[in-house]
Symmetry: C2
Subunit: 284 residues, 2 copies
């Protein structure tokens, strides 16, 4: 059933009131990868800076080399197709142990020591991130999940209680199956889903300092990119190859309500957040 | 500063009103051990019955043989003193992976499939269970935690949201150190701490059918034990050895506000809860 908007002379005023009433609290969704997780010293520094960032926070972590190392120690062969791990049952067990267990709880304990009241979760917990086993015409990725739904109510409640959420890249299908899920995707889907309630900045930790004018020179970071600028950079082939899907994803997030996307070295978190480092991407 | 209670003629009435207002919702704190966790079929049956139990629920799980198996596969030697695992840094890593990762999330996913909105946590999460590294005059237990504080506010909030909490036996010291912690103790401390807010039944899954009149005959379960009865059973040496600390702990919980303690086979959860199986322990 459709609701027809009535031609109400007060509509403009009502709308502006709604806008004011809708002023949303700030939320950072920050994704870190192996380069931080695998380096104990870097991780400690990062977590200290992370605690100093003001506002509500969700930290999404990947897995790093630990899962591969453990699989090696246990003699479980890892198969990668296009850089994606094929997740057989044994690999899923390792992923669940390392990502949702060791890495997640180690980060939580360190955040707690830094005065941040962290809670470590995966997508199965409270049915936070519901996904389905990937269907692909040619490749059987195994127990890999593609995200369907982010259940925002519990996220909101936990954040409102002052908790910092630490998310492991494991989801479930609500049929009892855990699924290995890309951490970038989880961060993006959470950021999008929480945008109606929060003013969301989505920050991707990256091995480079940001989007570069010259891919070989880490000093050529483009500080700001908007939609028009992005089209221009693509036309000029400044941005190409692997950076295109990354930026397409960033704009998809922005078009779904995320306020800002920042890409850069998570080691410089403070400067990334303040816009003094990395690339800040916005619609205009 | 002390507050002196005034001789108020309405005091008796006030008191009874307070009692009525304090009628507490039912909470089950249920602990399961290796005999259930290690047996996939038993675990599936148990979790189905667990979902059918009405009321708020916290499931505390131990570790089972998986941690020992993984340690063996990785060539990490396990040292036990008086049946307690000595937790060196490598063993703590395994415990965190297996207990807080694999077992915890596997149970959560299965509960979700059974329609129970479960959330898997350890004591470091939201600072739920704060402990200190065990101090012992002779034995260095390694990274083993003794519980200091259960932080009830988040427990209450999560339960009020209709979530079922699944607790892994790992806590932290709020200095960044995770600690391997006895699951029975965690269950007991949580049950005690939540007693002011909930009408708590503490249920221990056990390898026997309950407290037995004849330790060798699983059919001689004593259905009910109260404090007077317990003294009698101890005097008559019906209860001896390993059962004494278990029952002492049960009475300590009851004396701290827990309404009921049930001991029996978790496989018979439904009958344990209804009092048709196992031993129900209460003060009177």
């Amino acid at each position: 059933m459709h609701t027809t908007l009535q031609a109400d002379p007060d509509f403009v005023n009502d709308h502006s009131v709604t806008n004011t009433a809708m002023e949303r609290p700030v939320l950072y969704v920050i994704k870190i990868g192996g380069n931080i997780i695998d380096d104990e010293e870097q991780l400690a520094l990062f977590l200290k800076e992370f605690c100093a960032v003001e506002g509500r926070k969700i930290l999404v972590h990947g897995g790093g080399k630990l899962a591969t190392k453990l699989a090696g120690e246990l003699g479980i062969k890892q198969q990668l197709i296009d850089g994606r791990r094929i997740t057989d049952a044994e690999t899923l067990r390792i992923v669940t142990m390392v990502y949702a267990g060791y890495i997640n709880k180690t980060i939580v304990a360190k955040l707690q020591a830094n005065g941040s009241n962290a809670i470590g979760l995966c997508g199965a917990d409270a049915n936070l991130v519901l996904s389905h086993k990937r269907v692909h015409p040619e490749i059987d990725y195994g127990y890999v999940g593609d995200v369907d739904v982010v259940n925002t109510a519990i996220f909101k409640n936990l954040l409102e209680q002052g908790l910092t959420i630490v998310m492991a890249p494991v989801t479930h299908d609500k049929q009892g199956q855990l699924l290995n899920t890309n951490a970038d995707t989880i961060a993006q889907e959470i950021a999008k889903a929480l945008s109606p309630a929060f003013d969301v900045t989505l920050l991707y930790g990256f091995e480079k300092s940001g989007v570069l004018m010259n891919a070989d020179d880490d000093k050529t970071v483009i500080g700001k990119i908007n939609a028009a600028h992005y089209r221009e950079l693509k036309d000029k082939r400044v941005i190409f190859a692997g950076m295109i899907p990354k930026l397409d994803n960033a704009f998809a997030a922005l078009n779904s309500g995320v306020s800002k996307v920042i890409i850069g070295k998570a080691e410089n978190l403070k400067d990334l957040v303040s816009g003094q480092s990395g690339t800040t991407i916005s619609l205009d």
